[in-house]
Amino acid sequence: MTRPAASDAATGLRHRAEAEASALPPLLVQARHLAGSVLMGEHGRRRAGTGDDFWQYRPAQAGDSRRMIDHRRSAMGDVQYVREREWQIAQTVHLWVDTGASMRFASTPKLPQKSDRARLLGLAAAVLMVQGGERVGLTGGTLPPRRGNVQILRLAEALSDDDAEDYAPPGHRALIPHARALFISDFLGPYEPVEQALSKAAARGVCGVLLQVLDPAEEAFPFAGRTLFQSIAGGVTHETLKASALQERYLDRLAERRDALERLCREAGWRFGQHHTGDPAQAALMWLYHALERTAP
């Protein structure tokens, strides 16, 4: 009689696992799909080095070991050639995607939530990096950087977690020195944790990209009348009698926050980007890809 019970338990576990995992594939598929459109472009280091891809033939010089001589090419003439390969090195990329409650917001049902877009972009960038041979992991030591497709699955799973708090601080622990980093958030929470995280990272020689994902409503502030504004988790509220009168000052503050972030990035050698959920994800991914390329140390 134990066998059915055991199998029942196993079935239950399986069911739960399936339910949990069912959230992953769409994100993964979307991310791969998105990344697939970006794969063309610059590759490699553009100089000879260790790698798999052919780079150039050059005449053998003194000091080259005999084993390096490419006999097929050399047999076509008198000169002995060495076949060089392109220098390819693996980079480490740290990913942090805001899982706070503030990201779970979409002003209209037609738009995706900010968190969806942020995860999609983060995972798509990770897919690109992994396909480029880089090692990708999460900040904070929850998922150390590794390479390979299995890492994508782990990332997807880790990114699917939700945080109950309104504003999550950026994780800055366990950063590998001289690695690259990608922080995606709305950066609407307290400013100090961001500043702290970036200065810590800069101190370790890590440079990277900050991507601010905002909803169009947060950019336009299309509210009027007596309104009680609440954060998503309900922790912070603000009541006004005439919301339309606040618009100008709110936009000032938003620009101010953006300026502060940009300044912070400049000082730390990072790049700052912005993305609205109303825009297509592909443009943002393209920008991310190039930005990550350029921030290479």
């Binding site: 947060e218 912070v236 606040l246």
Partner: protein
């Protein structure tokens, strides 16, 4: 009732609620509109932002005003305001009896009567007097109860199309006598007098005061139309003589399209002090035949309507001639001129006399028919005696026969001399004769005799004592030309010339048409006398209501003939159209000769006209206003809260506001449409089936057979889909009792031994299906056992099933049948069994093989049935994956047989869908050859 500023209030104390309005103002002012909750992640950026201007957190004044107005309107509305309240107190305190004549006379002004009665009921209700209502045209026992109950029934009290007769008055007196105690009476009179009214006044006067309300205008009544020759005479009476008055009478009837419309209008004028006005209306016979009723324009009462019966109807004229079936020259046909003359004004029936007699025509014309078969003669005599008009024309045959030589025959008005006479021909002396002017007793009296009409030949009557009175037209020399005699209720008329222009030019002249018209008009009996109708029973077809509208009589009982004409209208004899089998009679409210008398009242009775201003309760309107204001308030509140920008919310609010204003009746109307949804569902399913081609099989009740049939049709459907451009949808099972068959071009019907017989409705459906181009493939599935297909139990069952079906003669599929080449070329039609014969509709016997074409030119249609026993469904059957379900034969030969079975199925469907298209295709070379290519 308290009066404030000319408006009465039923509950004035409620107005004190208005004092609470200032308090409400203060309260509402203190409560600002609720804030809208808006989730917003960037709220951190808002923290610390103050509202810069000192915004009012109070409700804006206009919103407050709106709400106060709404509350004030509600308070005033609930206080029961009444405009024009009846201020004078009628003083009565005891029970009140409302007596209404409720006859047709009051129908024209019934709205006022009803309103006035409503006022009386209102007053009685306020004085808390119990009320009873007595309609004299339909008396019931008195019931004294609260006025509000009667108020609800008031709309149902309608005038009836008769006057209170002695019987009804006796019932009314009995009802009054049965009531206890005294009561006051309010009498709504229609202004018409009727016998027995004095007794009623006396009986009511003993119980209490009588107050009479009478309509001020005289009552108009239209007497039944009478016919004077070609004109229709219309007479209108009024109940009181008065100043000169112009009215008009409208003739209603069907236009050629069949819709009811007014065909003519006749102005009438009452002279000063006259009580009757009459005028004559001349109409072409074409129009007259279509009349259905006359009515006084603008008077909606049964008495102002005169229905017409079939004395104006288009008569049915049966034309019978002795000519044989061969086609002669049209202008020589004895019937040609009759057709031309009668077609505009009569329904013509042609054919053999034995076929025409059962149709019971109004007139039978015998053109040059000398003698009828004895049995037919009997029948014609009976028909004439029942009122038919037999019109005979002479001719060579009659002249040559010995009809009416020796003695007078019942179907011949006079005796005839041998041979007739010819005048003015090449071999005779004298000029052709002309007609003498018609005598006064003749139906043709007054017709102009044109000089160009000449008679060259005729049959001649034997001199006879009775001859003189039977002649209705004669020649200038006194020879009878048209003779007539009555036979029973009908008559026999003989024209002594032919109906064509051979013997005379009479048929060429307009006089001929006029003569026929005179004869036909006078043939339809005028209004019958009551003695004429002794012993007959008439069933009502349509009856008038009090307002002069026709309604179906439904289950009203029949009426004895004499009563129909003579008795006054009453509940047992309702005015309307009655059917007596052979003819229709109209019974109107007024009989010819009836006179309308104005009612006279004793001096002790107070008579007053209508006219008190109507009470107008304002409560409902004010409450509606309050609701409307509240709806506006919803919109205003939304606007203040900044929510109005959202279109959806606004639409919702507007819908709420509107819904508050929609009258409850419309809502009920919407509820009434709900049951039709089931119907719509059925229609949707039908539309889904009809939009695609669906093969169907008949459900036999045997689960295994049905399953194989469904699988077989699935296989056939797949095959058609793959191989041909026919792409059917999934096959369907059909329940003959329940389902509509019209959607399926082909029904596969596997016959089982114990299949139940379809019901007669199902047979009717099947026959309609077969007639309208459907095909049934009967499969007895027993060709392995019974080669001939007639001896097995299933075949016997098939015979029982097919007995009531409309199946043509059958034959075994001939070699050149289109089934053999509709898509594939086939010579055998195997199913799971290979040998059984297949039967289809037999080719017509005259189908001939055209030269150069390998098959006969067969009938056009698709055979409605294909009968066989080869168990095709089993050969076609596939499972869900498309694999054969049942084995067929052995090895490769078996597969070949299955393939042939599929080909038969494809051919069959092609044959159903394309008919004999393939058969026609083979003619294409011949056609092209003929066109010279």
């Amino acid at each position: 009732m308290t009066m404030i500023a000319g408006i009465g209030f039923t509950a004035p104390w409620l107005l004190l609620g208005l004092l609470a309005l200032p308090v409400l103002w203060l309260l509402l002012r203190a409560i600002p509109p609720a804030p809208k909750r808006q989730p917003f992640p960037a709220v951190t950026l808002l923290l610390g932002l103050k509202d810069d201007e000192s915004l009012s957190d109070r409700t804006p004044w206009w919103l407050l005003l709106l709400r106060l107005l709404a509350v004030a309107a509600a308070i005033i509305g609930l206080a029961g305001p009444v405009l024009n309240p009846a201020t004078e107190d009628t003083g009565g305190s005891g029970p009140l009896l409302i007596v209404m004549d409720a006859s047709w006379g009051g129908a024209a002004g019934w709205k006022q009567t009803s309103a006035q009665a409503g006022v009386q009921l209102d007053e009685a209700g306020r004085a808390e007097r119990p009320v009873a209502v007595l309609r004299l045209s339909a008396p019931e026992p008195l019931q004294f109860r609260a006025a509000s109950g009667w108020q609800r029934q008031l709309a149902g009290l309608v005038p009836l199309p008769w006057q209170p007769g002695p019987e009804l008055l006796a019932q009314a007196l009995e009802a009054i006598g049965a009531a206890e105690g005294g009561f006051d009476t309010v009498w709504f009179s229609d202004g018409l007098d009727y016998p027995g009214r004095e007794g009623l006044i006396e009986a009511l006067g003993q119980r209490g005061g009588i107050e009479v309300y009478e309509q001020p205008l005289p009552v108009l009544g239209l007497l039944p139309a009478s016919y004077t020759g070609s004109a229709i005479e219309l007479t209108v009476q009024r109940s009181r003589a008065g100043p000169a008055q112009e009215i008009s009478v409208v003739a209603q009837g069907k236009d050629p399209g069949g819709t009811e419309r007014s065909l003519a209008s006749l102005p009438l004028r009452f002279a000063d002090g006259a009580r009757t006005a009459s005028a004559e209306l001349s109409l072409p016979s074409e129009l007259r035949a279509r009349l259905s009723r006359f009515e006084v324009r603008g008077v909606t009462s049964a008495g102002a309507v005169a229905l017409t019966d079939d004395s104006l109807r288009r008569r049915e004229v049966a034309l019978v001639s002795s000519e044989s079936a061969d086609e002669g020259l049209a202008l020589l046909s004895p019937l040609h001129y009759l057709r031309q003359a009668l077609a505009p004004s009569a329904e013509l029936l042609e054919g053999a006399l034995r076929d025409l007699l059962p149709a019971n025509p109004d007139v039978i014309v015998l053109a040059d028919v000398a003698r009828l078969a004895p049995a037919q003669e009997e029948a014609v005599i009976e028909w004439v005696e029942n009122g038919g008009l037999l019109l005979r024309f002479a001719g060579p045959r009659l002249a040559a026969s010995d009809t009416a030589r020796a003695g007078e025959e019942p179907l011949m008005p006079v005796r005839l001399r041998i041979g007739g006479r010819s005048i003015g021909g090449a071999m005779s002396w004298g000029e052709p004769k002309t007609l003498a002017p018609f005598g006064e007793g003749s139906p043709f009296y007054g017709l102009e005799v044109p000089q160009e009409v000449s008679i060259s030949s005729q049959v001649v009557a034997q001199p006879d004592p009775e001859l003189a009175q039977r002649v209705i037209a004669e020649l200038a020399d006194g020879t009878p030309l048209v003779t007539r005699k009555t036979l029973g209720q009908g008559q026999v008329v003989l024209f002594h010339v032919t109906a064509n222009a051979e013997w005379s030019s009479l048929p060429l002249s307009g006089l001929f048409v006029s003569m026929l018209e005179r004869l036909a008009v006078s043939s339809s009996a005028a209004q019958p006398k009551s003695e004429d109708l002794e012993g007959t029973t008439w069933t009502p077809v349509e009856v008038l209501d009090g307002f002069g509208r026709l309604e179906a009589a439904e289950t009203l009982p029949g009426v004895a003939g004499p009563d129909l004409v003579a008795a006054p209208a009453g509940p047992e004899l309702r005015p309307g159209v009655y059917d007596g089998g052979r003819r229709m009679l109209a019974r109107n409210v007024l009989r010819p000769g009836d006179e309308l008398m104005a009612a006279r009242w004793p001096a002790s009775v107070a008579v007053s006209g209508y006219g008190a201003p109507q009470e107008l309760p304002l409560g409902g309107a004010l409450l509606t206003l309050a609701l409307g204001l509240l709806a506006l308030d919803v919109l205003g509140t939304l606007a203040v809260s900044g929510l109005l920008g959202r279109a959806r919310t606004a639409a919702l609010a507007a819908a709420l506001g509107l819904a508050a204003l929609v009258p409850a009746q419309e809502l009920r109307a919407q509820e009434a449409t709900a049951p039709s949804q089931a119907q719509t569902q059925e229609d949707l399913r039908a539309a889904a089936i009809a939009s695609e081609l669906v093969l169907a099989h008949v459900l036999t009740g045997d689960a295994q057979v049905d399953r194989v049939a469904a699988a077989g049709l699935r296989g056939l459907t797949d095959t058609l889909f793959f191989r041909t451009s026919v792409e059917p949808a999934a096959p369907a099972g059909v329940d003959l009792e329940r389902d509509e068959l019209a959607f399926y071009p082909l029904l596969y019907w596997p016959v089982t031994r114990d299949q139940p017989l379809p019901s007669s409705e199902a047979y009717a459906k099947l026959n309609t299906y077969l007639r309208s181009g459907g095909m049934i493939l009967f499969d007895t599935r027993d060709a392995d056992l019974a080669a001939s297909g007639a001896t097995s139990p299933a075949a016997r069952r098939l015979q029982q099933i097919a007995l009531p079906l409309d199946i043509p003669p059958l034959e075994v599929v001939p070699e050149d049948h289109v089934l053999t080449r509709a898509f594939y070329l086939l010579q055998a039609f195997p199913g799971r069994h290979g040998r059984g014969p297949v039967w289809v509709e037999a080719a017509p016997p005259d189908a001939e093989q055209a030269e150069g074409i390998p098959f006969r030119n067969l009938n056009d249609g698709v055979t409605p049935v294909v009968i066989g026993g080869n168990d095709w469904a089993a050969a076609w059957a596939v499972d869900e994956n498309g694999r054969p379900l049942l084995p067929v034969g052995r090895g490769y030969a078996g597969e070949r047989q299955r393939e042939l079975a599929f080909r038969f199925g494809v051919n069959l469907v092609m044959h159903v869908l394309t008919g004999n298209y393939k058969s026609d295709q083979v003619h294409v070379p011949a056609l092209l050859d003929r066109l010279g290519q």
